[in-house]
């Protein structure tokens, strides 16, 4: 009887985590892309798979900021349950792809998503943050992450560190929560290669960050 109740509780906890509904943007560059890539705006319960198509009227602030700081808008089209745009990643460095969910009658977005891509090994964590609004900011270069590393992560509001909880959903593995104190950054233990989704909420606004950790050379592909 006790086992059954523990089992039921465990199931409830797992399903509660699994059914967390998130929205995110993720970019794929692939191996031989000739500087081309694909941006996907997704929504659903099973990161990185998108199973809900967001309403077009809510999509806003879709832009890509390149290594030189230049900003370009992108316009995705709906393909099944995902909004997809083919874009150009034509130089090495840190690329920041972002989008927002904003109701037309409201002044500020209710949800913001960002994807960080590092190409060509030219990494610069100073480009990870915009300094505006709510954001999750990795504190170490993403391109040099390896399995077992601890990635410091902070939550910032208009550039100032704040406390909060970060929900972590890796592509492989189970979801977890990190707690970030005002003076103590959260530490994310990298336990698997692949994509990571980090979300945090603050005063009714939610921010989602995605990035990828490369598989070690010679390791099994995802």
């Amino acid at each position: 009887m006790r086992t059954a109740s523990w089992l039921a509780t465990a199931c409830l906890f797992c399903t509660a985590t699994a059914h967390a509904h998130e929205h995110w943007v993720i970019a794929e560059t692939g191996a031989n892309t000739n500087g081309r890539g694909r941006v996907c705006i997704c929504s659903g319960h099973g990161f990185p798979r998108s199973d809900i198509l967001l309403a077009e009227r809510l999509l806003a602030d879709m832009e890509i900021v390149g290594p030189g700081g230049e900003s370009v808008s992108y316009k995705p089209t709906a393909q099944e349950k995902t909004w997809i745009a083919d874009v150009a990643f034509d130089k090495p460095g840190v690329w920041v792809v972002s989008f927002a969910l904003k109701k037309p009658q409201e002044e500020h977005p209710v949800y913001q998503g960002r994807c960080l891509i590092v190409l060509g090994g030219q990494d610069d964590p100073n480009h990870y943050a915009s300094g505006k609004g709510l954001e999750i900011v990795p504190g170490a270069p993403l391109s040099s992450l390896k399995l077992g590393d601890a990635l410091p992560i902070s939550i910032r509001l208009d550039g100032t560190a704040v406390e909060g909880k970060i929900a972590v959903t890796p592509e492989k593995g189970s979801a977890s929560f990190l707690s970030r104190g005002r003076d103590r950054p959260a530490q994310l233990r990298i336990q698997s290669a692949g994509a990571y989704l980090l979300t945090t909420s603050h005063k009714g606004k939610t921010f989602a960050l995605t990035f990828s950790v490369a598989a070690p050379p010679g390791a099994g592909e995802r």
């Binding site: 929205h23 659903g44 967001l54 309403a55 009227r57 809510l58 109701k103 037309p104 009658q105 949800y111």
Partner: protein, 148 residues
């Protein structure tokens, strides 16, 4: 000439009788039925797409709009029956609510409180000739030629 003028006036009047005026007025109405949508944590589903289906007409909404900042969507039913409201926040959350409305019909057929067009045309013409006739009379009186 006089007959022509009379004929012209008659033709104009008959043609105008079938004319349509245009202009709008708005009057206050109170009451109504509606739904309020909230998320599981109690926060209202604000500014989300709402659609209303009338009884027996499930294929096409009779009213579309958005919920207000309190998550409410209101309407004025004009027939009894089951009215269906769907609300979709566009982010993967949607709800459908059926409202059984009996004896709560609020909207009535609008009463014609304006003068029918034909009468309006005739009255207008009469007033025009009356106004200018009165002006001519005043003019005559002022110039001292009345009664001669």
């Amino acid at each position: 000439m006089r007959r022509c003028v009379v004929h012209m006036a008659l033709v104009w009047t008959c043609a105008a009788a079938a004319a349509h005026g245009h202009g709008i007025t708005a009057d206050r109405v109170d009451g109504g039925a509606g739904v309020r949508a909230v998320y599981d944590d109690g926060t209202p589903v604000t500014f989300s797409e709402a659609r209303l289906f009338a009884p027996g007409k499930e294929d096409k909404p009779v009213l579309t709009g958005t919920t207000d900042r309190d998550g409410c969507f209101m309407f004025r039913p004009d027939t009894n029956g089951v009215w269906r409201v769907t609300i979709d926040d566009g982010m993967g959350h949607a709800v459908t609510k059926d409202l059984q409305l009996d004896g709560q019909v609020i909207a009535h057929k609008p009463e014609r409180d304006r003068m029918p067009k034909r009468y309006g045309i005739v009255t207008g013409l009469a007033l025009i000739f009356g106004v200018f006739g009165w002006f001519a009379f005043l003019r005559l009186k002022l110039s001292g030629r009345a009664g001669k």
